[in-house]
Symmetry: C2
Subunit: 716 residues, 2 copies
């Protein structure tokens, strides 16, 4: 726990003032005050109201000044025009933390943006750190503090939530209760003007009650800081994130919601991968997968047991587990022998285990899972079909006559079950378990799992998919563990000179020859080539390089050469070369220098690049090259600087990663060399501010060796 973090006091105040609450129960401010008052907060609450003598039965104060002492936290739910004045008053009083619920700032346009900047400078003057504006407040179940508008019915939470949407920490509370999910802390950051989503993430990273963190993101203002903070947390606890700003419509919606600046989806995707953040694409998974990660023991391998009382859900769970990277291992004969006596004759017991329509729920809920967990043959369990009261309740209307009116409760009491043991199994054996049940908490099995922090999902596929979040985290931790020691790439003076000369010559881009010399200065493998000014130099160049060769016009005035008669490939004789030289000069209509290159040959083409993004800063890309680059777009992105591990991960990350291995008699690609290309692009971008963009396309693989065949460096 980091008590010096600005959020610490904000989440753990001993006194709170609220402005905007009155005695009208349908007013927002009143609802916020009621949550603080009624949900168990043990500290002091001071309503500030210009006219009312009492608010919600408490003494009200006519002004900030008249408060008996400076409250630790002020909550403002007043029209936006009054916010700055109030912040100033609280500043004078000595309050240093504020939550601004009120909307109407940056998200409304330029006037709002100016007002938000003024707010920021006023707060800074008093050393005030604030959450919002345009947020829904916070929840801290450690001290039963709820400043949202919706009743809090949860204690001892384990999932930390940071959200750019207030709804996901307020309107969703009943939904979460129904799903057994409990927040440790939840923080609605709104416009993130002062305390940002990243600050909140940082705080939860150190918060002991928080076992996993879920993030709802519409746009990050500091992606690089996000990367640093998230990366430092992930080795200790998992982070799940949803990002919705990447589409045209999502970006438009986010901008008008919290003023968030969106960026293309692929940049966020790369950022999450680089940080080791697990990405989800729905709020259901944001909560559900977060809860799985917050409650279950860590996965040690990928072998899963599928237990069911019904074939359909069993088949679906097995199928979904396998699709998500699990192995539904067949049980050993000795394990099968232990299960056989517990299930009806002919019932499958080799994994999946299907007890079929058996009424003995203890077999399914306790005996079989325990045997399986004890066996050492699996790393996780997914279970469908445990039910008692939920099922009895729905068949009871059919049975009540036959049972001579015996009350439902009596019948339920007759069916005693050791829920305690069943629901404790994952924690006893350190083996994660996911439950699939079509019954809500109206069923006492579901209720028992909820109270023992075993996640329950309302479909077989959902349970299996949620379990796969553990596998994703396992893979991320594995990657972190395997990270080699490494030293950063040093700045190269020759490269700086090339750039300096080009800038002085007024160039907007480096020509192909200069671009490749720049890359070669960093040790990157470029095609063997010579730049010639006259036809008379041609023979010497060709002699040095050997047939076949390529001739290209080389000028910073012609960055794109394709389709203009400026490139001649596969030249096999001096005659062809001379003709090509003449044609290039003719097409260029100038005495353009000509680049003579050894013709690289290979079937595999990749591309790599560097760009400066207004929000993300230095970004490196790697992907499939050649003709495919345009039609399928298999490219992945990371922020610079890149570790060796980052570069390696990029290579595995493209869908066509298989092309890097041995394929169709071709040798595996020299990974170290390719990684060096990828890492160096980041280093070049970090070291040389004159570089705006680098495009390498293709990197052709000759045998196993990557060769940069074409490159373009764009200058700032």
């Amino acid at each position: 726990m980091n008590s010096s973090h600005p959020l610490h006091l904000l989440l753990n105040p001993s006194s709170i003032a609220i402005v905007g609450a009155n005695n009208n129960p349908m007013k927002m401010g009143t609802m916020h005050a009621l949550s603080i008052l009624k949900d168990g907060f043990a500290g002091k609450l001071y309503p500030v109201h210009p006219k009312e003598k009492t608010v919600l039965g408490m003494e009200a104060f006519t002004s900030v000044e008249s408060l008996p002492a400076a409250p630790d936290l002020a909550i403002l739910v007043v029209p936006s025009s009054e916010i700055i004045k109030l912040v100033e008053e609280f500043g004078k009083k000595g309050t240093r933390r504020v939550i601004i619920i009120t909307a109407g700032f940056r998200e409304t346009g330029s006037a709002g943006r100016a007002e938000e900047e003024r707010l920021q400078s006023v707060a800074a003057r008093y050393g005030i750190r604030f959450l919002g504006p345009n947020c829904m407040g916070i929840i801290n179940t450690d001290i039963s503090l709820n400043t949202t508008v919706v009743t809090l019915n949860m204690k001892d939470g384990r999932l930390g939530m940071v959200s750019q949407s207030g709804t996901y920490v307020s309107q969703t509370l009943p939904y979460l209760v129904k799903h057994g999910i409990r927040f440790s802390k939840a923080i609605s950051v709104g416009n993130s003007t002062d305390i940002s989503l990243i600050d909140a993430l940082e705080y939860l990273g150190d918060d002991e009650s928080t076992k996993a963190i879920s993030l709802y993101i519409e746009g990050l203002s500091e992606p690089k800081r996000f990367l640093e903070v998230a990366r430092s947390i992930v080795s200790r606890k998992p982070i799940v994130a949803q990002y919705v700003g990447g589409s045209k419509a999502g970006a438009r919606a986010g901008l008008s919601h919290t003023g968030a600046l969106a960026a293309p989806d692929h940049l966020y995707d790369g950022l999450f991968k680089q940080a080791g953040v697990i990405r989800v694409d729905s709020v259901e998974d944001l909560f559900g997968h977060g809860w799985m990660l917050a409650t279950q023991p860590r996965l040690k391998g990928k072998r899963v047991a599928v237990l069911t009382n019904s074939g359909g859900p069993g088949s679906s769970m097995a199928h979904t587990c396998e699709q998500n990277g699990f192995e539904v291992v067949e049980f050993s004969e000795s394990l099968k022998k232990k299960i056989e006596p517990l299930v009806p004759p002919h019932a499958p017991c080799g994994n999946p285990v299907d007890i079929t329509f058996s009424m003995d729920v203890e077999v399914l809920s306790k005996k079989i899972p325990e045997i399986v967990m004890q066996s050492g043959e699996v790393d996780a369990v997914v279970l469908h079909g445990t039910m008692r009261s939920g099922f009895i309740k729905i068949i009871y209307p059919h049975l009540v006559d036959m049972l001579n009116g015996t009350p439902l409760e009596t019948i339920l009491d007759m069916l005693k079950i050791d829920f305690e043991k069943s629901a404790s199994l994952p924690h006893i054996y350190g083996i994660p378990m996911a439950i699939s049940s079509f019954f809500d908490f109206e069923d006492d099995f579901t209720a028992a799992y909820h109270s023992h922090d075993v996640p329950v999902y309302d479909s077989p596929e959902k349970a299996a998919r949620a379990l796969s979040a553990l596998l994703k985290y396992h893979t991320i931790l594995q990657r972190l563990k395997d990270a080699p020691d490494e030293s950063p790439l040093q700045k190269n003076d020759e490269a700086e000179r090339i750039l300096h000369d080009a800038k002085r010559a007024g160039q907007r881009v480096l020509d192909e020859y200069q671009s490749k010399r720049l890359l070669a200065a960093y040790g990157l493998p470029v095609s063997k080539e010579m730049l010639i000014q006259n036809e008379s130099e041609l023979a010497e160049a060709v002699a040095a390089l050997g047939f076949p060769v390529v001739l290209k016009a080389c000028s910073s005035d012609i960055p794109h050469k394709t389709g203009k008669g400026l490139i001649y490939l596969r030249l096999n004789s001096m005659d062809e070369c001379r003709e090509a030289f003449k044609n290039i000069r003719k097409s260029a209509e100038s005495d353009v220098p000509v680049l003579v290159s050894a013709m690289a040959r290979g079937e595999r083409e990749f591309m790599a690049g560097f760009l400066r993004h207004e929000l993300f800063g230095e970004v490196v890309s790697f992907g499939l090259g050649g003709i495919f680059a345009e039609t399928i777009g298999d490219t992945t992105f990371r922020l610079a600087p890149l570790s060796v591990n980052d570069a390696k991960h990029m290579m595995c990350d493209i869908r066509h990663a298989g092309l890097l291995g041995e394929v169709r008699g071709l040798p595996a690609v020299d990974e170290a060399s390719l990684m060096h290309i990828i890492r160096s692009l980041g280093a070049i971008g970090m070291h040389h501010h004159a570089v705006r963009e680098i495009d390498i396309n293709p990197v052709l693989v000759e045998g196993s060796r990557p060769v940069i065949v074409d490159a373009l460096v764009v200058l700032n």
Copy 2:
């Protein structure tokens, strides 16, 4: 409605006998009987029991023979050893429809399989058509008939369900009620021994109460018939399917569950695409998307309006809609002007429309959706945030003191809302709507939508994704509408001769030359080439073809030539050719004939093929070729014979379909020619039973023209 269909009487009996029910309420047979008795079936029910005088208050009959008349339907819930005898007795009595709930047949292994075959022949002897064994019975809400073990709480259903899992028509009933989903008919087919899943699909295709059909599939025994039946239904009503047998674990689970023979996932995927069946990958979507399709007006275009009271869900819905092919169109100025007065100042009203935390639910639930539907600017609406009692209930505990103890009901009565109108909008304007709400039917908005057949989903993304099922169906119907007239491809005699000769020569495969001659006989474009027996013929062949050429060993004894020194590419001189010829003879260690081909050049490679699958029969494949074929596997499958439309759909269906268009200065591929290749492969397989398999890899695209560069025909 097809009253001659075997399922008609089974689903609409006027009298039912049940064997296996007694007076023990926890016995399966009793539970089945109770459902028939209590859920509203108006026909006669006869319990058959050897000892009991009465069962569930009804007179019991000691034997089948003693029944007063032959019941229309018999339901058997007795040990498997008694089934055949009972079927025989009912046969003698005159009953012609039976449901066999009992398990323990084919799914248990070879003895069970033999028993199942005997059952089949006994039933056939009496003209009995039966459902099961190993099933859960049927539901027909038209006549309130429920033969499952779970209470039925639904009427006037619209969704037809056929399932190889009994759970999905029984244990899920309370789940369905909670989600407002109602079956018209539900049929658990179990082992599909006599009446199959396809029969049931066929029946529901003609059933007037059924507006959409959901299928849970573990394996189909007659994929071709499925294709025919499904295709004939899809133009009238949509079909949604889940298939889980495609993974190793899924196949194992399915086999032991209903004895279903699984096939690879990609074959089912192709089958569903060819049939126009919408595939889903969870039972939640099977129900949820089915319900969307069963209730909402047909989509006319892809413009969607996103309406919300909260930015987070709004952004997510917009993002998810766009990802699924919708356009979240920006509203016209005039439409925005109509919405503006209804929402708070600065609230976004250009789509998404976000009324923010406004308490005026009628604005969100009625006024804005109606204005938007009237505008003509959208084809669908997705809406989040309508809520009344659900929300009031959760904040009520906070408010009750302030309200002087006013009961919740009184408060709800004060907030009158025109639910009727809100929930009728999609049907009034013929524009589909999906609702996202974190509130269950405890909220009266959710309840109102349910009762008006407007689907409600418990997350924004789920609502948006369910809506996309309508878009998929729209696309399928569009494709059906665009299907051109066409004639089947005729059998070719020359091809038959080639095969006949090869068989007579004892060949197991056609050599490359023969293979290409076979394909050429059907008008397929193969590389120009000549087969030579001696080096002396080389010069003439090369002269006829022109440089560069390719030399390959050509023998049915060497079907795979790569990497063995048997292929020489890009030969540019007679010297190279002669050397290649000698090398081939040396590598082959025989006087193998040599194929001299014109060297085709092109950057785009595809593959196509034909195979006979033990279950699917004649299957045609098309995909990316060359080096990529092995590493990414971008191939799609269809059953032969193929229509022009099928072939066209295959071409669009691969992920790399973009390569077929204009790309990087290359012209678009000649689609007609490629389609002809694909269709012909199916025709060859259908016409020539000697052909077991055809592999064409690659089809190289030279300019725009596809050329078959290598081909192998495997014989039966």
